[in-house]
């Protein structure tokens, strides 16, 4: 770097200019790795469901949770939302399932389709109870492989035929064998649908639900079973929905604030540090394009909090420059030549720059690992911003000064005061 400052500087500027085209959300930048924006900026829904695993044996929990995620994923894919996210998360309340739907138009319908799911289970009579009481069995919708709409041959009433997988078929066979002559209740969403008396042991894994359905009801039920029945009940415990209008508004305001903030910082630096300020302003622009480029390459899903974190780093990125310039001023006062003062200034300001940025880095790392997704976005952009700004202040500004400031012209001591 010391030997070929012009070349290295040229390289950095070239990368920054490429990054500028890359991050600009039109033309080239729109086609190559488009920006990923958070739900709070493009509009959408963030739904958190708590999964009730109380009826599931501890050993089965992982498979039930994964099955649940797959089923919900299939359902969510029906909404035609681009890149829906369905993932599991652990919380104090047990296991949570998070569904993220970007740019969805009708959230309430989506919630209905996810939430009002056919939770099917079979219950047998409690042999210890005096009256007829049903107790849950382990035969539930998770064993269903498919369903179809059929009609009762006698009454022509619509009914739903379901098929179990081999495990389910075995359980069903044993259960029917055990309960011959007794009612076996079919519950849908914890509502008793019917409780036919078992005539004989049923093998082959086929069952028919013949509640009092209309054709449409039976059809919907079949569709939902085919999308997959839920292996465990879920409850919506938290919801965050942002309309696309509000999201776009937040994004625009954030960008405007970022641009105004950048201009203010650049104006201040040029006003206070004159020629050196111009270099800091240039370095700030390079910083902005490089950082945005890094965000896009990783790629980071930029949320409102993340945008705020990035805008804060714009105010922080010049801090290292300020520390360096103040040092250079002191060195100049000591009577050093400009090029020597610059080298000394950089060398002596470095411990302060390192020390003072470390606390922000510690904060960002802890925030990233110990908080929820919304705060995380902020922590991540803050961390990347501080790291890139360290690079930018030490490398870019230094190179700019090395290449452009010469000792030859001692009259131009335009260096504020």
């Amino acid at each position: 770097m010391r030997k070929h400052p012009v070349f290295v500087l040229f390289l950095i500027v070239l990368v920054a200019v490429t990054a500028a085209f890359f991050v600009y959300p039109k033309n080239f930048g729109a086609n190559v790795m488009p920006w990923r924006l958070g739900l709070d900026l493009i509009g959408g829904s963030h739904l958190v469901y708590n999964v009730d695993l109380s009826q599931v044996a501890a050993a089965d929990r992982d498979s039930v949770l994964n099955g649940l995620r797959d089923v919900i994923e299939k359902r969510v894919n029906l909404f035609g939302v681009s890149e829906p996210q369905v993932y599991l998360a652990q919380s104090a309340g047990g296991s949570d399932l998070v569904v993220e739907l970007a740019g969805i138009k009708d959230v309430s319908q989506a919630i209905q389709l996810i939430g009002e799911t056919p939770l099917l289970d079979f219950r047998e009579t409690d042999p210890t109870a005096s009256s007829t009481q049903f107790i849950p069995t382990n035969l539930t919708g998770r064993y269903i492989t498919g369903a179809q709409l059929t009609f009762d041959p006698q009454t022509q009433a619509p009914q739903v035929s379901i098929s179990f997988n081999s495990d389910g078929a075995n359980i069903f066979e044993q259960m029917t064998a055990k309960n011959v002559g007794k009612p076996l209740a079919i519950y849908l969403d914890n509502q008793l649908i019917e409780a036919p008396i078992v005539q004989e042991k049923i093998s082959g894994g086929q069952a028919v639900i013949s509640g009092k359905f209309t054709v449409d009801e039976a059809k919907t039920l079949v569709e939902r079973f085919n999308a997959g029945a839920l292996p465990a009940p879920i409850t919506l415990i938290s919801q965050q929905t942002v309309s696309p209008t509000l999201g776009a508004d937040s994004l625009n305001k954030g960008i405007v604030a970022g641009i105004i903030g950048t201009l203010l910082v650049m104006a201040f630096m040029i006003f206070y540090y004159r020629m050196f300020g111009v270099f800091a302003a240039l370095a700030l622009l390079i910083y902005i394009f490089l950082t945005l480029g890094v965000f896009k390459v990783i790629p980071i899903t930029l949320s409102l909090a993340g945008l705020a974190g990035f805008i804060l780093t714009i105010g922080m990125a010049v801090d290292a420059n300020i520390l360096i310039f103040e040092r250079i001023k002191e060195e100049l006062k000591k009577g050093l030549s400009r090029t020597t003062a610059i080298e000394e200034g950089f060398r002596r300001a470095w411990p302060s720059i390192r020390d003072s940025n470390t606390s922000t880095i510690i904060t960002a790392i802890i925030l990233y690992y110990f908080t929820s997704s919304f705060v995380r976005g902020f922590a991540l952009t803050l961390l990347i911003g501080v790291l890139v700004s360290l690079f930018s202040a030490i490398t870019t500004t230094r190179l700019l000064l090395r290449v452009l400031v010469k000792d030859k012209n001692p009259e131009i001591k335009k260096f504020g005061n």
Partner: protein, 299 residues
């Protein structure tokens, strides 16, 4: 050169008044907890024509939800209402939305956020854990940064005063939010905690710059100058950079405060107050305290 150390009593008294007021506000009023800590609903919507008053909507929610603590505010800037309600389920949300749409056909939902109390507890717990960890992390770092003993003040005094300054810088914005919570029903949320943590980082940042200079001058000076005088010189030498590094951040924060999205308003305000307090404390609190510490020891 400003005689900061000479007037340290005035500067420290100003700080003391603010910190005591802030702590009194926090202890006396406490914080109003936002929905991500206590559970609840935030509902943002607009009614373009035939716009009702916020009070009328507040009564609507109170009667329909049987919730006495429903609060509705109107933001003229964005022309939207913000309703703060207890945690409601999706069917209730739909029912209320339909009722509103019937009464006001131009009703349009902009955002809806409902968080159950258990999720709130979890988020609050995480925020507090993060806060404690950041304090521990920063303390360890400060101890590390000042590990080299240099006379006449022991290295851990620098660390202790850095943390005292940190407390000062966090207490004042926190006190302001407690005050706003009491008088303007402003709530604190995870963003507020994040803002305080960021203020902590900056507070340490500024204090370290000044203390680094004191350390350097002590090494160069080798006991020729009186400690108080040397500290005063160091503060003056670093004053411009202390102010400027924070000032560039304040410029960005002002841009965010006045033109940024409304949802970041109090996050930015907390940061603005914290960073401004940080400028003051790094110049007028940290170094005077160091001199007082040294004076006590000398007696």
């Amino acid at each position: 050169m400003l005689n900061i150390i000479g007037h340290k009593k005035i500067f420290l008294s100003i700080s003391a008044v603010f910190v005591i007021a802030a702590v009194a506000a926090i202890v006396g009023f406490g914080f109003r907890q936002g929905i991500d800590f206590a559970g609840g609903t935030l509902w943002q919507f607009s009614i373009a024509s035939n716009t009702p008053s916020a009070a009328a909507l507040q009564d609507f929610f109170k009667s329909n939800l049987d919730a006495s603590d429903a609060i509705v505010t109107y933001d003229a800037g964005s022309g939207s209402f913000m309703a703060r309600l207890p945690s409601i389920s999706e069917p209730v949300h739909q029912k209320l939305a339909n009722l509103l749409k019937t009464s006001y056909p131009s009703f349009e939902e902009a955002g809806f956020q409902s968080i159950g109390p258990s999720v709130g507890n979890e988020l609050r717990k995480n925020a507090i854990i993060a806060m404690i960890l950041v304090i521990i992390g920063i303390s360890l770092y400060v101890a590390f940064a000042f590990r080299k003993v240099f006379q006449p003040v022991s290295s851990w005094a620098y660390g202790f005063i850095t943390l005292l300054t940190l407390f000062h810088d966090v207490a004042i914005p926190a006190g302001l939010l407690a005050l706003l919570g009491h008088y303007a029903k402003i709530e604190i949320d995870s963003n507020f905690m994040v803002a305080l943590l960021v203020v902590m980082g900056f507070s340490v940042h500024d204090t370290i710059v000044v203390f680094d200079r004191i350390r350097e001058n002590l090494l160069l000076d080798r006991g020729r100058t009186a400690f108080a005088e040397l500290v005063n010189k160091s503060v003056n030498q670093t004053m411009a950079r202390s102010i400027n590094t924070s000032f560039t951040l304040i410029l960005v924060l002002l841009a965010l405060y006045f033109t940024g999205p409304a949802s970041l308003h109090y996050f930015v305000l907390t940061l603005l107050v914290g960073v401004t307090t940080g400028i003051y404390s790094s110049i007028f609190v940290a170094s005077p305290l160091l001199v007082i510490w040294q004076g006590r020891k000398g007696k």
